[in-house]
């Protein structure tokens, strides 16, 4: 059966990972028809256009809960609670995965990969040359304290890119790291709590962000994420703090985790946000198609596929029981971090209202780009946005 697969992945590692799924699907006698939508083009509007236009894809890479609610409204949702419980897979997922694939009490998504949104990947060679040991930092202050030393050694301490989504990811990673799960969930949870918007945690978060901004080098404005990553890989900069998908770039550059580069969570993090790349499948289909869609789900959930997929994309398997021999040092570290259920929070995309999430991005990116903007200004703007969007 032909399945139409909708996604927005296009980089080398992402495509390699997709091919793992494709092979699995084809092994079950189905064919894979691909629709790739570029990033930054409002992909979920496009998805809904396809759906309302009567040419919906069967499988779609989509985290936003709103989409699933809309699909439910159209009678095209395909809950998977039954499927997962029957197969007994749920127990194998870390808690943040389970929460992120659940929409309004039903499991709606098939998780494929885990990323931690805020990890620091550093170039070991540079660290050695500069005489610092990132693994030893136990707080952000400790980290910043070493920066001068790194500069003196002729390296940029921290490579930071200047695009909205990069700053946005950094912010929620820092929110989890500095504010802890409670604060994080109050901001990025399904039901944001306005009282935390002007809290000490929020202030700390913004001040930390400002600190990061001030540490950025001259070329950081507008710099693309991959270029930024390459600064670290090529040894111009010591490290980058971002989602752990940068591991894909390292691997693509032929570097090995643990020897060429190291990975740590944000020093002193109280929690880490977890991105769960997950697929949704279309309901209301013929039995044949439905069966094929479930086959796809089965392929994705397969432990071996999980492991292969993770090694291709540079992610970490969603299943704790995935074969561990393929895991590299960083994945091991990620799984270690995720063992603590209280130390993880879901990525905002899979829980929060897109409008609200986007408005935070707008504010923090403005805050980032305009050094004269004060923390109070930023908080006032966020509060105002809350009023207009959710109030």
């Amino acid at each position: 059966t032909d399945l139409i697969i909708y996604h927005n992945w296009s980089s080398g590692p992402e495509v390699a990972a997709l091919n793992v799924l494709k092979d699995g699907l084809e092994a079950k006698g189905h064919t894979w028809t691909d629709i790739a939508i570029p990033h930054n083009t409002g992909s979920n509007v496009n998805l809904m256009n396809l759906v309302t236009g009567g040419t919906p894809p069967n499988v779609f890479l989509e985290s936003s809960p709103g989409v699933y609610r809309d699909l439910a409204g159209l009678g095209l949702a395909r809950p998977l609670t039954e499927f997962f419980t029957e197969q007994g897979i749920l127990e194998q997922y870390p808690s943040s995965v389970v929460s992120s694939i659940t929409v309004d009490g039903e499991i709606m998504k098939i998780p494929t990969a885990i990323h931690i949104d805020g990890m620091a990947y550093y170039n070991m060679e540079v660290a050695e040359a500069a005489g610092v040991d990132p693994a030893a930092w136990d707080s952000l202050d400790a980290m910043f304290a070493d920066f001068q030393k790194i500069r003196d050694a002729g390296y940029i301490p921290l490579a930071i890119g200047g695009q909205q989504w990069q700053v946005g990811y950094l912010v929620h990673a820092l929110a989890a790291a500095t504010g802890g799960p409670e604060f994080y969930n109050a901001v990025y949870g399904g039901e944001p709590d306005p009282s935390v918007l002007d809290s000490a945690e929020m202030r700390t978060l913004l001040e930390t962000l400002r600190r990061f901004q001030q540490e950025a080098d001259e070329g950081s404005a507008n710099r693309e994420w991959n270029v930024t990553t390459n600064m670290v890989i090529t040894g111009q900069a010591l490290m980058q703090i971002h989602g752990d998908w940068m591991k894909g770039e390292w691997s693509a550059a032929g570097k090995t985790a643990g020897t060429d580069f190291g990975c740590i969570q944000i020093p002193g993090a109280k929690a880490v946000p977890v991105t769960v790349d997950s697929w949704g499948i279309l309901g209301g289909q013929s039995e044949e198609v439905d069966a094929a869609e479930l086959d796809f789900a089965a392929v994705v959930a397969d432990p071996q596929v999980q492991a292969d997929f993770a090694s291709a994309k540079g992610s970490t398997p969603t299943r704790l029981d995935a074969p561990s021999e393929v895991l590299d040092a960083c994945s091991v570290e990620v799984l270690r971090i995720l063992e603590d259920a209280d130390h993880q929070v879901p990525n905002p995309h899979s829980t929060v209202d897109a409008d609200w999430q986007n408005s935070i991005w707008d504010v923090v990116f403005n805050f980032w780009s305009d050094p004269s903007m004060s923390v109070d200004d930023a908080i006032a703007q966020i509060q105002e946005n809350y009023e207009t969007i959710l109030g």
Partner: protein
């Protein structure tokens, strides 16, 4: 009966239908949506107690304010394209040598999508790779890092749009200049009037009509400007280069808020009308005057 009365009306029906459905109907639809709370999909209920909530939000939205401010900046900046186009046209027109070569060169940017050249411009403006480092390597200490700062990023966008459209205005101006009776030039020459005075006192006022046309086309382009922003800055740094068109698409896609996007679109329409009704009235008035004197 007179068939000559019916035939053209039949021929006009497709256009009329398209106008009614795709334009008038759609505008009405969007206006309606702007009063609803539609998110990803339309909702057709209007909560009459707060029917203006999308507009309320819009007027309080700092991003919208920036967009409007940028619209003005972009409008003023792009007006340079007209000025530049006129200067080029005047020079080409006076100095016939190389006319077709220069014309082609100045016109080609029009053929190339900004999605294409945006990449090149971004690169040229990149402080470490582009013109700045090149000029510095020649020993000139220049700051050419427009894209990095919010207060200069608009300049980069203006630069790119001037670059793209100046040739088009040049072509229009050239047409206007060619329409000027050569005897006027001869008369001015005989009268011994300095060239700059001829341009300022005679030629430019004579080309009023061309200038108004250019102004209309320009403001149209400015209000619709989207590609150039996406290609150059994608709205950044911060929201510093947002414009209404970008704002609207952003509200629709990133914010997934159809009602909000509709409100922004309606405001764009309002702006268009506010800008155009005077301009169009001016044109019509000019045209009338011109026809009356013919």
């Amino acid at each position: 009966m007179r068939w000559s009365r019916i035939a053209p009306q039949l021929a006009l029906t497709p256009a009329l239908a398209i106008t009614a459905v795709a334009f008038v109907g759609s505008i009405g639809w969007t206006i309606y949506l702007s009063f609803t709370r539609s998110r990803r999909l339309p909702e057709y209920g209007i909560d009459w107690s707060e029917w203006g909530r999308q507009y309320d939000r819009l007027f309080r939205d700092a991003g919208w304010e920036i967009s409007l401010r940028n619209l003005i900046v972009l409008g003023l900046g792009s007006a340079l394209a007209i000025v530049f186009g006129f200067i080029l046209a005047a020079m080409i027109d006076k100095e016939k040598r190389g006319e077709s070569f220069f014309r082609t060169v100045f016109l080609y940017p029009l053929a190339v999508s900004l999605i294409v050249t945006g990449a090149a411009w971004r690169w040229i403006l990149n402080p470490t790779l582009g013109a700045q480092s090149f000029l510095r390597s020649l020993g000139w200490e220049v700051d050419f890092n427009w894209l990095a700062q919010g207060d200069t990023a608009m300049y980069a966008i203006i630069l790119a749009s001037v670059w793209q459209s100046a040739g088009f205005y040049m072509a229009l101006m050239l047409a206007g200049l060619k329409g000027i009776n050569t005897e006027i030039w001869s008369a001015a020459k005989l009268d011994g009037v300095p060239l700059w005075r001829v341009y300022i006192e005679i030629i430019i006022p004579m080309m009023k009509f061309t200038f108004i046309t250019c102004a209309i086309l320009l403001s149209l382009g400015v209000i619709k400007a989207y590609d150039v922003v996406v290609a150059m800055t994608n709205g950044g740094p911060g929201q510093s280069t947002w414009v209404p068109a970008y704002f609207t698409i952003n509200a629709l896609s990133a914010k997934s808020n159809l009602g909000y996007a509709s409100a922004a679109a309606v405001m764009m329409l309002v702006i268009t009308l506010v800008v155009f009704i005077p301009l169009v009235a001016l044109t019509v008035w000019q045209q009338r005057k011109r026809e009356a004197t013919r």
